[in-house]
Amino acid sequence: MKNFVGFWKNTWKNRSLMVMALPALILMIMFSYVPMYGVVLAFKKFNYMQGFNSPWCGLDNFKFMFLVGDTFWQMTRNTVGYFLLFTIVGTVGKVMLAIALNEMVFKRAAKFFQSCMVLPHFISYIAISFVVYALLKTNGGLVNQWIMALGGEGINFYAEAERWPLILLIVNTWKNIGYGSVLYLSVLVGIDPGLYEAAELDGANAWQRMIHITIPMLVPMIVITTLLGLGSIMQSDTGLFYQVTKNSGALYSTTQVLDSYVLNAITSGSNFGTTAAVTFYQSIVGTFMIVMTNLFVRKISPDNAIF
């Protein structure tokens, strides 16, 4: 009880801090907490007239979600598959790039190269979709020009789904690898040069120094960023999957992810019940992943845990 009174006394004493926090609290309630209530739509038979007051329908929406089965599993597979692909290729690429940049003796050049590599991160996917289109379009696209110059047949990229995992992997890597390597580079810069000198004295060559010093120093950061990243396994960048693919229906089998499905459903205004069920499923799995990965992180490195 004394504690309770003390708490409110402290709050009153710091009332100007309460005022400072107020705008953030209002925004949080309006745009995070109220929409959380929106998950009830997953259990309602939605119609526009009644909106949030639509009648309950139990688990019907979920039944339907599993009934359309194929699309649903396909979207889940795409979402998780691309996430894993991007994480594995991306992490290896970022680490290699960071090590390579760190090894360069020409520091000014390294700095300049890094700036060039980070830049794509800040270019919007709309711009990138223009460029990808310029590269891939059937008539006059650069890639098709090259293929034909080499005597091959032109490829209609926007109709051939099986080519897109590779295309999206390249685009995603191109956009994010430089930015991601900044983090690993900052770890490398912090390694005590004395370690390398000692290893050199003991006769370790450049390769051994990398295997026994550089990589082990990076491992904690790699593990932690990967684990924390797992929390967003159910989310995807709609810029990549919606814009870059030009939302082409012919490519859905390999390019449609949960987020782009929901975006399509909202813009076409159809099937809100099933869509609500899909977003509910997406949120729940996401929450589960964040909690689990955070438990792990807290075990291995409490400082980096979110909670």
Binding site: A21, M30, A109, I306
Partner: protein, 295 residues
């Protein structure tokens, strides 16, 4: 001291090649925007067009009103959104950094929950349109929830650089909490504000999904949405080439910009980012490192 042997030169060339690869798409955009339309139609896209031309840029300047309006909308949304977010989240981060403020535990938990669980896109859309009625307003483009990551970056930065003693002494001198924040703490946290501000500004400048979902009014159309519309019209043209009459086709085709003009519009939209980037790059490194190490 490591020697600059052959390996170093190979490494430098390899890294240079990767850097160039990262820049190539931007170079392509610039080249195409200065290519003549005929050379593109005849030979397709190319880094080395057969003829150069300024027509695309004349077209962009002549595209006139909608371009200017959209530029204005994007600049307004970027500036207003970034300033609002920095103020709101900066103040919130400051309250979270005060160890004597017991309510901060509650606030931390509140923001943590927003990281853990979200209602999802559809729920947000329904709430924004049916409860707040934000469709076709500037508000929807500017107002967002609170970004937990950005708050944490700022809070960590304040805790790491502004000592408790400094804040206490300002208080002793009779400064109010607001004065302490704006005259003592804010000047110390400029690097954090710059790095978070840059990330936010880029986010607002590039954002398209909200505009796409909520904005119909041409007077509130930001650049990103304008680009999407241009793109849509072209797709419409390609898909309906055979079903449209010649006059209809000519009418639609006349209203959309040519290949080079599209790249010019795109470059006009990208320009400010490319110009601002060199000045801000030293700050975002800081943001990335604080943001990810201290989750």
């Amino acid at each position: 001291m490591r020697k600059t042997g052959i390996g170093q030169w190979l490494l430098t060339i390899l890294m240079g090649a990767i850097a160039l690869f990262c820049l190539l798409p931007m170079i392509l955009i610039v080249v195409v925007s200065f290519s003549s339309e005929e050379s593109i139609i005849k030979n397709g896209y190319s880094f080395f067009p057969s003829a150069w031309s300024l027509d695309a840029w004349k077209y962009v300047l002549g595209y006139g009103k909608q371009m200017v309006v959209s530029y204005g909308v994007t600049i307004f949304v970027t500036v207003a959104g970034t300033l609002l977010d920095l103020t709101v989240e900066g103040m919130f981060a400051y309250t979270l950094s005060r160890s004597t403020f017991r309510m901060r535990r509650v606030f931390s938990t509140l923001i943590l929950i927003t990281m853990l669980f979200s209602g999802g896109q559809l729920a947000s859309y329904m709430v924004n349109t049916t409860i707040y009625h934000l469709k076709d307003t500037y508000w929807i483009l500017i107002l967002n929830g609170v970004s937990a990551m950005h708050v944490i970056i700022m809070r960590t930065y304040i805790q790491g650089t502004v000592s408790e003693a400094l804040i206490e002494s300002a208080k002793m001198d009779g400064a109010s909490e607001f004065r302490t924040l704006f005259q003592v703490v804010v000047p110390c946290m400029t690097p954090a504000l710059a790095s978070v501000g840059f990330m936010k500004a880029i986010g607002y400048w590039n954002s398209w999904q909200k505009a796409y979902l909520y904005i119909d009014d041409p007077n509130k159309t930001p650049l990103s949405l304008l680009l999407m519309r241009v793109e849509k019209n072209i797709q419409f043209l390609l898909e309906n080439e055979d079903v449209m009459s010649a006059e209809m086709y000519a009418a639609v085709a006349g209203s959309i910009p040519g290949e080079s003009a599209r790249m010019a519009i795109l470059l006009a939209a990208l320009g400010p980012i490319l110009i601002a980037y060199p000045f801000f790059q030293k700050y975002f490194v800081k943001g990335i490192t604080i943001g990810s190490v201290k989750g």
